[in-house]
Amino acid sequence: MDLSYGPTFDAFREEVRTFIATHKDQQPKHGAGPKSEEARSWQATLIKNGYHSRTIPKAYGGFGAEPDIIKSRIIAEEFSAAQMNTGFSGQGISMLTPVLLEMGTESQKQQFIEKTIHGDIIWCQGYSEPGAGSDLASLTTKAELDGDEWVINGQKIWTSTAHISDWIFCLVRTEPEAPKHQGISFLLFKMDTPGIEVRPLVDMTGSANFNEVFFTDVRVPKDQIVGQRGQGWQVANAILGHERGSLAPPDAAMTRLNGVIRLMREETVAGERVIDNPIFRDRLLKLQGRVLAMQYNDMRLLSAKINKQTDTQLAGMVVKLIGTELRHEIECLGIDVMGEIGISYEDNPYLRGNGSWQYQYMYFLGLIIGGGTSQIQKNIISERGLGMPKEPKIATVGA
C-alpha cells in the first residue's frame, strides 16, 4: 500500500500550481457560453499548456503528451482544489473524439478533432429513441442509401445540447434485414441539414436539459460514416463504458456531503441546531461511511489503471449504480435537514445554496435512470461481474 504518487511527480504538481496561480485571472467569467470569445481563448490556453486534450496528437490540435494517468489525476486534483475552470466538456470531446481516434479515417480525424476540442464544433449524441432506451440496439431511425447520400427518417430523444450543437453523431439502422446489433451504422452530420427539427424537452427540474430530435428525409453524404456499414454498434460500444463511471465521482459526493454538514451546523429547528439532532446526525454519518467506501474504491481503480491490474472489474462496474443512488440520498438529506425550507425553489427568498439541493436531488434521479438504468447496471453486474446467466429470450415479443 503506497498512497503517494512519488517524488518524481512533485515537480509536475508544482508546475500545475504555478500555471494556476499565473492564469487564474484569465478564466472565463461564470456563465460565459461555449461560443464566447473568452471561453474559446481559455480553451486554447489550456490545450497549449497541456491541461486539456493532453494526450490528443499534435497533428489533430492536441497537446500530444504520452498518456500518464497520474499526471492527469494531478491536474484534475489541482484544478478542482483551486476551483479552476477546466475548459470545454460535452459529448463531442468525451465520446466522439476517442471514437474517431480509434476508428475514424485519417480525413475524419483531420476534419473534426481539432475543431471539436477547440470548441469550433459542438456535438450532440443521437443514440436513444422513444422505443429504444435500455434496449438501445432495437433503434429504428433508418438511413437508406440513395445515390451518394443517406436519407434519414426517425426520431431521437434525451439528446443533450442538440439545440446548440453544430453536428450530431448518430446511430441509425442501415441494414433492416440484419440481426439488430449488426444492422446499425454510426453517421456524422450537420444539425442545420434540412429536415432536422429540435424540440426542447423540459424535465422535472424545470430546465430543458434534453431535446427531442426529429429527422424527415435528412440527406447526408455517404462517406460521413465511422466504421463500416452495420458496424455502428461496435463503434458506439467502444466508448460507452467511458460514460458510466464518470457520472458519479465519489469526490464530488464528498464535497456535497460536506455541504450537508455546513447546512446542519447553520440550520436550526425550534432554536436547536440540526447537527445536534441525533437522528439527522446518524443519517449523515451513515452516508459519510458509504462515500468513504466509494472514495477508496475509486483509489483502488486508479491504482489498478496505473499498475495495469485486472482484478478490479467488479469494483469498476458498481460505481455508476452505487454512486448515483448515493448522491440522490445525500441531496435528499440536505433537503430533509431544512424541512419546510427544503421545498423552496426558484425565486423563494429562503432558498439555500441557489436551490441546488432540490435541483440535484431531481437531477440525480435522472442519472439513476440515464446512462444505463440502475436495473441495467444490476444486469451487467450479475452477468459480467458474477457470471450469472442472461434471462432467456421470450420467443414472441408483443405478439
Partner: protein
Amino acid sequence: MEFGLSEEQTLLQDSVSRFLKDNVTLDAVREVAAGDTSDANIWRGLADLGIAGLIIPEAQGGVGLGMLEAVVVSEALGYHIAPSPFISSAIVAPTVLLAAGHTDKLGDIAAGNLRVGVAFSEAIGARLDAGVHISDDALTGKLLFAFDAHADAYLVNGPNREIFWVDASTTGLTRRSLTTIDKTRTICELQFNKADAVPISEDAEVMQAGIDAGRMVQAADSLGAAQAMLDQAVAYAMQRKQFNRVIASFQAVKHLCAEMASQLEPCRSLVWYGGHALSEQTADARLTVCHANAHLSEVAQFVAKTSTEVHGGMGFTDLVGLHYWFKRIGANRQLLGSPEAVREEAARLQNLID
C-alpha cells in the same frame, strides 16, 4: 502509487485461506458449535502459521507484521467463520500490551501458549449496571460479554477506563459462559469478588488503541463472512432449478446478488485502507476505523439477510449451515460497539457533537 495488497500480503491471505479450507470445514465448525470440541486445535494450527503473533514484534517472538496484514488474515477467518480467539488474543491484547509497554507476556501469546481474553464492553457502553470497582487493590463486580470463554487470562476494563490483567485462575474470579447466537466464538461473563488484578494501564488512549484494532479486524471479519455468503448465494442460484431453469437466470434473483456485490465490493477498499491507516497511524485512522466498522455492520447485515433469501427455504434450515455466517455477522455487529454507537464516536472525532 499502489492501492492494494502486496504480493506478500496476498500470499499471506492465500496460505491462511488454504489452512482454513482444509481444517475449518463446515463439519468442523458444527463440532465446535455443538460443544463437542473446542477451538483449541484450530488455534494451534493458526498459531503454527504465526497468526497468534502476527502483529507482535519479532523481538518479542512474533511475526512483526502490521494491521493491514491483520485485516487480510481476519477477512480469511471471517470467510471460513473460523472458531478462534483471533480478535482478542492476537489483536486487541497485543495492541494494548504493546501500547502500555508490558512486553513480558507477548512471547507466550505469540506462540499460542497463552490465550488472552478481553472484557472491554463496559468501556464502550455498560449494560445492566455492569462494571467493577476497586477495593483493597482487588476487583469486585461483573463484566459482561467478554471475548473468549477459554482464555488463560483477561484484560479487563476498570472503573475509569484503566486496564487490569486478571488470570483466569485467580481466586475471586468466576467465569460463566454466555451462550450467544454465534457459536463459532465463545463469550463469557466475568464475576469478580475481591479478585487480584495487575494494573496494566491508566491511559484511556491505550484502551482506545485496543478497541480500534479490534473494531478494524472485526470489520474485516464481517467482510469475509459476507463475501462467503454472497459466493454461496450465487453458487446456489446457479444450480437450483425452478420453472425448468436455474434461478440465477431470473432477474429478481440476479438483482439481489448484484445489490449484494455492489455494496460489498467497495467495502474491501475501505477495510484495506483502514488497516493501512492504523498501521501508519495516519491522522484519519480512528475515523476510518469507526466508519469501516459501522459500514461493514450495515452492509454485512444486508448481505446476510439477502443471501439467506436467495437460498429460499434451504437458507432458513440448519442443513446448508448458512446461518453460521448470518450469526457471526450478527454478533460482529454488536460486539465492540453497535453501529449507532460507533457512528456517534465518528461524529465526535469530527467535532460534530458539542
